[in-house]
């Protein structure tokens, strides 16, 4: 049974995901609108004073990014699980970790990247000083893939559950704690001209670690959910 190089399967899967995402463009906006809503709630809640907002800006933007990612994670494998596509993928002999990675990359490009692109707007709203903006974008660029990779494990574990949504956030939030701490401290350090490369370095290490380990955990979770 000749199995072509898994590379073509990876590309075929990515192309299909983009096509599907394109066909459901409206649904892509939901997590992003949610992101904007969450950030606008903070000035309404804590008051518009620029100094206060600037102080909490990194935390607020990052927490909003985290919530928006988790919101879009639930549908990561769900539609494939329900119409039997996931079953055939598992049986196709292609490495399941690769399929998990392809789905996660597609999810990041569709849900994570827009957050990075929207961050200047959020920084403006939260009155983040200019020195911090570049580092905010950098930290989001490194951090959002980690959110998708670790979130994919939770998504795969809860895919066969009817009300998997809340359970998914309970599972992944503790795992996001280190990333949140490092990212917000990097941006805050940049704002007051303190060194921030250490935090970004650790986040990149986290990205590489989750890039190599998370797909295997997701693959195991998918096989388990299908059994």
């Amino acid at each position: 049974m000749s199995r072509q190089a898994t590379g073509t399967a990876f590309v075929a899967l990515l192309r299909r995901d983009f096509l599907l995402a394109y066909r459901r463009r409206a649904e892509l906006l939901q997590p992003l609108v949610f992101l904007l809503v969450v950030v606008t709630l903070f000035p309404l809640g804590v008051g518009p004073s620029p100094a206060l907002l600037a102080n909490i800006a990194p935390g607020v933007i990052w927490i909003a990014a985290l919530l928006a990612t988790v919101l879009s994670l639930d549908s990561l494998f769900r539609s494939d699980f329900e119409d039997g596509t996931l079953e055939q993928m598992v049986l196709s002999g292609q490495s399941l970790a690769l399929i998990a990675l392809a789905r996660t990359v597609a999810h990041w490009l569709v849900a994570g990247l827009p957050i990075v692109l929207l961050s200047p707007l959020l920084a403006m709203w939260m009155n983040l000083p200019d020195e911090g903006l570049l580092i905010l974008i950098e930290s989001l660029a490194i951090g959002t893939p980690v959110l998708s990779l670790i979130g994919a494990i939770g998504g795969a574990l809860t895919v066969s559950l009817k009300r998997g949504g809340q359970l998914l956030s309970l599972l992944v939030f503790p795992l996001y704690v280190p990333l949140l701490i490092l990212a917000t401290s990097a941006v805050s350090a940049a704002v007051v001209d303190l060194p921030y490369t250490g935090q970004l370095g650790l986040m990149t290490a986290g990205l590489i670690a989750s890039l190599t380990l998370a797909p295997f955990a997701t693959a195991a979770a998918l096989k388990l959910s299908l059994s």
Partner: protein, 249 residues
């Protein structure tokens, strides 16, 4: 079959495990009580008060052992979970599931005693101290595993999902602890170091006694819960039916 496989196979069979763990439990409880009584006697009455914090340091003999236990149990759950997932040994799955509530109980005690211990010196019950915050995150990890187990309807699949989650959680646990520790020093200057640079030698003995006592407690409680779980799962099987008829007459 080679002997090792035979051993696992035999200990893996529920009736065998049920019978022999039953014999072990009373001894574990006895050891737990003995060590606790002796440890508490030393800790509360013999050991000196701390020169800085005064009497409130005596809470250490409960807070520190329970904090250690909460982390140890999660690590054990990950190891047992790995064995359960790879070799599909049902007893390991039952042990993982039965450990989760005990670990959560220890974490809750560690949190409460930690905040009570800090109250006199901090002035409030809760300060985002590094250790307490990590314990809180650990509690969420426990709730995550327990909630995941209860979300599935088929018990074997639920146990495997919980095992996988405890492995993923255990890998992240040290990273969480270091990042929270680092986060705490970032925001609050040097950490409070509530149990002081060096522990007074006479404080060490009760601490170690209590630490071993909590391990026996874990052993006894785990086996009790595992036997209950086996009974609940196998209630239609013959060995449970025989057990019932043997017990009733």
């Amino acid at each position: 079959m080679n002997p090792i496989y035979l051993f696992f196979h035999k200990t893996g069979s529920p009736p065998w495990f049920y019978k022999y763990s039953g014999k072990l439990i009373p001894w574990l409880w006895a050891l737990f009580l003995a060590l606790t009584i002796y440890g508490l006697y030393l800790g509360l009455f013999v050991a000196p008060a701390d020169y800085q914090q005064g009497e409130s340091v005596r809470i250490m003999y409960l807070h520190v052992p329970t904090a250690w236990m909460s982390m140890m149990i999660y690590g054990l759950m990950a190891i047992m979970g790995f064995i359960a997932l790879v070799w599909r040994i049902r007893i390991m799955e039952v042990l993982v599931i039965s450990s989760a509530p005990i670990g959560a109980a220890f974490t809750i005690i560690a949190l409460i005693t930690g905040s009570l211990w800090g109250r006199p010196t901090w002035g409030t019950y809760w300060v985002w101290d590094a250790r307490l915050t990590s314990e809180l995150v650990l509690l969420f990890l426990y709730f995550g595993v327990i909630a995941l187990y209860n979300a599935f309807d088929e018990p074997r699949k639920a146990a495997r999902a919980a095992s996988l989650m405890s492995i993923v959680g255990a890998i992240n646990l040290p990273i969480i602890y270091f990042s929270v520790e680092w986060w705490n020093t970032l925001h609050q200057g040097s950490s409070m170091g509530s149990d002081g640079p060096g522990i007074h030698p006479s404080m060490l003995l009760p601490l170690l006694l209590m630490a071993t006592a909590t391990k026996f407690y874990y052993g006894a409680n785990l086996l009790t819960r595992a036997r209950l779980c086996l009974l609940k799962q196998d209630h239609r099987k013959r060995w449970v039916q025989d057990l019932l008829s043997k017990e009733s007459n």
